[in-house]
């Protein structure tokens, strides 16, 4: 009697077969980035032109940083991600662990004026497996409407619950938060990492975080802080400067960025080791790290190019026409208040700090 079921089974098998094979496109890569308004900037400024120019399709995937998914794919032996937009410390760690393909700077395009890529990149923007993308900065911002009267202006104010009561948004990772805590606790900017090198310094940072712990709402995606500020869920939040900028100019949100103690870093584009689509991935990497691509990103969100030849190409915002320079983390006024994110320290201590941080959170 079972053969009478066979049309049933055939139909199902056919459906399963079609859906499992039907979507496999010939030349397609998965590019992983940070989503939200930054993701949109990369998409419009880089991905769409790339697809038009090369015919290689780009699947965009969003993530919130970290090496976990890359490690998982390499360990299980199935690579789904091809090009990833990583933080510097992670790019260095991932390279050491053999998770990423080495990148030859000579294979990247020259600057528009003919400067070889190796000289065109800002110092420190290239690592063994990573090509610099843009400078971004972690700052804190507040909603003017939620803070009447005196406005906060320093990192210390962020930790001052008496003068500025209300909940705070912070990223659910140890990096940046430990640095901010130490600055707020009175450690001079240039001694922050020296302090973190000692157990006392780390204890001190956690002790400072403890003072606001009950008032913190932890975020993971870069798109959350502007949303939480707009909803009034928090009165101030750490955030990536570009996200706040976009909320200010595109959505007219009354947000104010506090540049004091801003932590500046460079994004890294990397290629995951062992991807079966290496050729396409490298092609994309070369495209996205050209001065033009960086500038296209910089015209849509306030992150400045990691190539010397990129900055002049940015000039003004693509829609609003405002001058981008004062909003960039690297502008003289803003850079004067910056702390350069020490990715070497974090490459060495990330694991320990992650463990301690999550134990501290779980308590």
């Amino acid at each position: 009697m079972n053969y009478r079921f066979s049309p049933f089974f055939t139909t199902i098998l056919a459906i399963l077969f079609v859906v499992s094979c039907g979507t496999e496109s010939s030349r397609s890569i998965t590019a992983v980035s940070w989503g939200g308004s930054y993701g949109r900037a990369v998409n419009e400024g880089v991905n769409i032109p790339f697809m038009e120019e090369t015919g290689i399709n780009i699947q965009v995937e969003d993530y919130n940083g970290g090496l976990a998914q890359i490690r998982a794919q390499v360990e299980i032996g199935e690579i789904h991600w091809d090009v990833v937009d990583l933080e510097m410390a992670e790019a260095v760690r991932g390279c050491d662990e053999g998770l990423l393909e080495p990148i030859d700077v000579a294979s990247l395009p020259d600057g528009p004026d003919g400067t070889p890529a190796a000289e065109d990149f800002v110092e420190g923007a290239m690592t063994e497996c990573g090509a610099g993308s843009v400078f971004f900065s972690t700052v804190y911002a507040y909603n003017e409407e939620s803070i009447p009267g005196t406005k906060p202006g320093t990192i210390a104010d962020f930790f001052d619950l008496e003068t500025f009561p209300g909940r705070r948004g912070m990223r659910r990772v140890p990096q940046v938060n430990l640095e901010f805590a130490l600055i707020a606790d009175g450690v001079p900017r240039d001694q922050v990492y020296a302090a973190l090198d000692t157990p006392e310094g780390i204890d001190r940072a956690f002790a400072k975080l403890e003072t606001i712990r009950d008032e913190v709402v932890w975020w993971e995606a870069g798109a959350q802080p502007p949303q939480m500020l707009a909803d009034g869920e928090v009165v101030m939040s750490t955030a990536y400067n570009g996200r706040i900028f976009n909320a200010q100019v595109l959505e007219d949100q009354p947000f104010v960025i506090v540049w004091d103690g801003q932590l500046m870093g460079i994004g890294q584009f990397v290629v995951v080791a062992g991807t079966p689509r290496l050729e396409e991935a490298m092609e994309y990497l070369a495209f996205v790290t050209s001065a033009k691509s960086m500038a296209e990103i910089g015209r849509r969100i306030s992150y400045s190019p990691a190539r010397r030849s990129g900055m002049p190409l940015v000039s003004t915002h693509i829609e609003k026409g405002i001058d981008m320079e004062p909003h960039m983390p690297g502008s003289p006024a803003n850079a004067a208040q910056a702390l350069r994110f020490d990715w070497e320290w974090w490459a060495d201590h990330q694991d320990e700090m992650n463990e301690r941080f999550s134990a501290w959170l779980a308590r």
């Binding site: 976990a68 998914q69 050491d96 662990e97 909803d231 201590h349 999550s358 134990a359 779980a362």
Partner: protein, 405 residues
């Protein structure tokens, strides 16, 4: 089986075979797509060949190590060679990640060592390696390599129960700051109990009301219970966020009627309160439906009889109604409890940092820390708990009667 069919078979045996043939495809399907994956996971909780495969010679030489002093130059030489080889083969990261879980800080030390060893061609390796990083002078590092080098290991289960194995082989509790899992298991049980009780307190009266209502009204009241049952879990969780957040509907209401001031809004979500409220809402139908199906079978005349014999309503309820409804209470409570201890979505979305349960920790180790062995072991412990409860449920209630509305 095919052979036996050639002979005339008695009808009893034939129907039996036909029944088995009908059930077989599904049993095989469940075996392949469910039992086998669980088996794969449980294997990972006790078996891990990576370090043993990458550092075979080092591990072999370490067998003769006394465990207290620094290993011999031969061990260092083997380790240096194998680390170089692993770095070239890109398998070092997996080793570094594993030893790092036994001894924090080793991941970066191992990878840094590999980087600097690239330029060193000749020994003495002991000097070079201890000069690159002092961790190589620490016996704990070599112990970590030894421990992770075991192909078959119980250390993930020990870890899941907050125990560690000391170099002398004995089991000891983890240091205080690393004891988190027993507390989390305990919290999960406690929260599940609270939720089960809340469901019982809220569900019992309405199940009673529905059971006593005339058919038409009962049907409509049942629909009120079934609407949340059929509504997407994510939708219900979203609703609670919208209702409970500090700028949410409930807080706005409290401020509007003057119960709390605008600055004194209550934090009801992203904490344990949020987890409990939302989970109670999600699980309440699983309590009401079994209760209702039992209560429907209790003749109302019993209560009237008790009343006519002079019992007060309270006495009549306690002596007559409650005992008869107990099977429903048991079925509902067990079902809610079983579902509650494995809950993941709701605590992850509304639990904040203190409203997390054991499932969230499993997800954390699956997706973030990538300590898959530990995730599998935590899953194994949870699975044993669920199986015990499931067997109890099967004995008391029978799985066919699992209430579905």
């Amino acid at each position: 089986m095919a052979g036996s069919l050639r002979f005339p078979v008695d009808p009893h045996r034939r129907t039996q075979l036909r029944a088995l043939a009908l059930v077989a495809p599904l049993v095989i399907y469940i075996g392949v797509t469910f039992i086998a994956p669980l088996g794969t996971m449980l294997t990972r909780s006790v078996y891990d060949p990576v370090v043993a495969d990458v550092l075979p010679e080092t591990l072999e030489l370490l067998e003769h190590w006394d465990g207290r002093t620094l290993p011999s130059e031969a061990v260092f030489a083997a380790a240096a060679a194998e680390i170089k080889r692993a770095a070239a083969a890109r398998s070092l990261g997996q080793v570094a990640g594993r030893v790092n879980r036994v001894q924090g800080g080793l991941r970066s030390a191992v990878t840094r060592t590999a980087r600097e060893l690239r330029d060193i061609e000749v020994g003495p390796w002991r000097e070079s390696m201890t000069a690159i990083d002092s961790v190589w002078a620490d016996p704990a590092t070599w112990y970590a390599i030894q421990v992770t080098g075991e192909r078959f290991t119980a250390r993930h289960y020990a870890n899941a129960l907050d125990l560690q194995r000391l170099p002398d082989g004995s089991l000891a509790p983890q240091p205080v700051e690393r004891r988190i899992y027993l507390k989390l298991f305990w919290r999960t049980l406690l929260v599940s109990t609270v939720i089960t009780l809340l469901c019982l307190i809220l569900g019992y009266p309405i199940a009673h009301l529905i059971a006593r209502s005339p058919a038409g009204r009962a049907n409509w009241l049942l629909i009120l219970v079934l609407v949340p049952f059929w509504t997407s879990l994510l939708v219900r969780t979203t609703s609670w966020i919208v209702l409970l957040q500090t700028q949410g509907v409930l807080n706005d209401l409290l401020v509007a009627i003057g119960l709390v001031s605008d600055d004194g809004r209550v934090a009801m979500v992203y904490n344990m309160t949020g987890t409990i409220v939302a989970m109670t809402h999600v699980l309440l139908p699983f309590m009401v439906l079994p209760l209702y199906s039992v209560m429907r079978g209790i003749p109302p005349t019993y209560m009237d009889a008790a009343a006519s014999l002079g019992a007060t309503p309270v006495q009549a309820f306690l002596r007559v109604y409650w005992p008869q409804s107990l099977p429903g209470v048991g079925a509902g409570a067990l079902l809610v409890f079983i579902l509650a201890i494995g809950f993941y979505i709701t605590p992850a979305l509304v639990g904040g940092s203190d409203g997390q349960l054991i499932s969230n920790m499993i997800a954390y180790h699956m997706q973030t820390s990538l300590n898959w062995g530990l995730a599998a072991a935590l899953g194994g412990v949870l699975l044993v708990g669920v199986i015990v409860l499931y067997v109890v449920y099967e004995r008391l209630v029978g799985v066919e009667r699992m209430g579905l509305g």
